[in-house]
Each structure stands twice: as structure tokens, then as C-alpha cells.
């Protein structure tokens, strides 16, 4: 058994595809129409055959209150690895991304948290140089 997919629950798949590709820099892998919604995944260009991130609709009624509560407390839904968190912070800020936490050293990692514009907060993390 292996993990090949991870999901984020997004309020709008078209908007999400724009943010996760044009802004974050991931590439589209699957885009299959399933009636109202799509099976839509992105991958990192650094690992095109690696784990796919599913941009999944958040239309189930239980999802919105859950997402709202996480965002209110500043809790990221998931985390991505970066090599240079300060450079990513500068790059994404210049693209208009809103951070709820700039890079802060948290023990073995330096983390930052931003708004994905689709109802989630996302963390980026870099292993602290030892």
C-alpha cells in the first residue's frame, strides 16, 4: 500500500486550479469532467510522478463549518515542503498571496501560513538548517 493522493477541499475548482498552478506553481495532472464537478489533480513539477493533490469540491454541508472553524483559529489544512521559505514568502507575497503567519522558526522547521483563496489556510515548511 502507498499514498498517492491527498485532498484539499475547495469552494471553486476553476479558482483553485488558477491558484494552485499559476500562483503556487504546481502543474495540472488530471482534469476529468464528472457532471457538476471535475476530478482535478495537480502535482509538483519537482515530482511529476509523485503524490497528486486533489482539488476536491467542498459542497458537502458539513465541510464549510469545518473549514470556517479551522481558518478562524489559523489552523492550516495541510502543509507543503519548500527548500527556501524566505524566498517563497517573498515570491508569493509579491503575487498578492495573503499570509496569516510570516516565516517563523518553530524548532526543527521554519513555517509560514497563507490563505489559498478557496477557504483554506496552507502551511509551507522548510527544515531548519542544523
Amino acid at each position: 500500500m502507498r499514498i498517492n493522493l491527498a485532498s484539499v477541499l475547495v469552494d471553486d475548482q476553476t479558482k483553485a486550479l488558477h491558484f494552485y498552478t499559476d500562483v503556487l506553481g504546481f502543474t495540472k495532472k488530471s482534469d476529468v469532467s464528472l457532471g457538476d464537478h471535475k476530478w482535478l489533480t495537480v502535482v509538483s513539477p519537482q515530482d511529476p510522478d509523485g503524490v497528486e493533490l486533489v482539488l476536491e469540491p467542498d459542497s458537502h454541508p458539513a465541510v464549510r463549518p469545518f473549514k470556517t472553524a479551522l481558518v478562524e483559529d489559523g489552523i492550516p489544512f495541510t502543509s507543503f515542503a519548500v527548500d527556501d521559505i524566505d524566498a517563497e514568502y517573498r515570491r508569493l507575497t509579491a503575487l498578492g498571496v495573503r499570509f496569516t503567519q510570516p516565516p517563523v522558526e518553530m524548532g526543527p522547521v521554519t513555517t509560514a501560513v497563507f490563505d489559498d483563496t478557496c477557504g483554506n489556510l496552507i502551511q509551507i515548511a522548510q527544515a531548519t538548517a542544523t
Binding site: D73, G74, I75, T100, V104, M106, D115
Partner: protein
């Protein structure tokens, strides 16, 4: 007067080491989410309290007027307010 009414709450709020650490971290960066405060306490101070416990501490600090909260977008942020501490300092300042 406001200062007399709430001064006991300020001492009580400051009497707890975790609450003092929260104020320390807010001096490092003002305007943090609950998540950031919890992460800082866990990773920088080895405070293993639950999110609910930290939330309670924040409530005590807010009640004492030592922090204020404000919504930014859909996030709730916590800000340091040292006004009550300044009032304590003024209370015992030598007058001559």
C-alpha cells in the same frame, strides 16, 4: 475607576508562566492566530498544553485587558496590550 476594578485580574493573569510566555511571544510578533501561539509554545517553550487550554489562557489575558482580539478576514488575531502593566508601574512610582 477602571484601573481599581480590574487590577486583581491583571495580577492573576500574570501569575501563570504559560500566560507570561504567550505575552513574550506576542512581543516577538503582534497579531497571531491561536494556531501560531500554540505552535510557538510547543516548539519554543515545550509547552504541551492542548489548544483548548491555550484558548482558555487567552480568555484570561483578554479579560484582564492584556490582549485584544481582532478579526482580519476570517481569522481571529491576538494583540498585546500593555496598558494594564503601565498602570501598575505608575501606581508605585516614587513621587519625589
Amino acid at each position: 475607576m477602571h484601573i481599581v476594578e480590574h487590577v486583581a485580574d491583571v495580577y492573576n493573569a500574570l501569575a501563570d508562566a504559560t500566560r507570561r510566555m504567550i505575552l513574550d511571544e506576542l512581543t516577538d510578533r503582534d497579531g497571531q492566530t491561536l494556531f501560531e501561539i500554540c505552535a510557538r509554545l510547543a516548539t519554543k517553550h515545550q509547552v504541551a498544553s492542548t489548544r483548548q487550554a491555550i484558548s482558555h489562557h487567552l480568555g484570561v489575558l483578554e479579560e484582564a485587558g492584556l490582549i485584544t482580539t481582532r478579526r482580519e478576514g476570517r481569522c481571529k488575531l491576538h494583540f498585546l496590550d500593555t496598558t494594564p502593566i503601565d498602570q501598575i508601574a505608575r501606581r508605585w512610582r516614587r513621587r519625589n
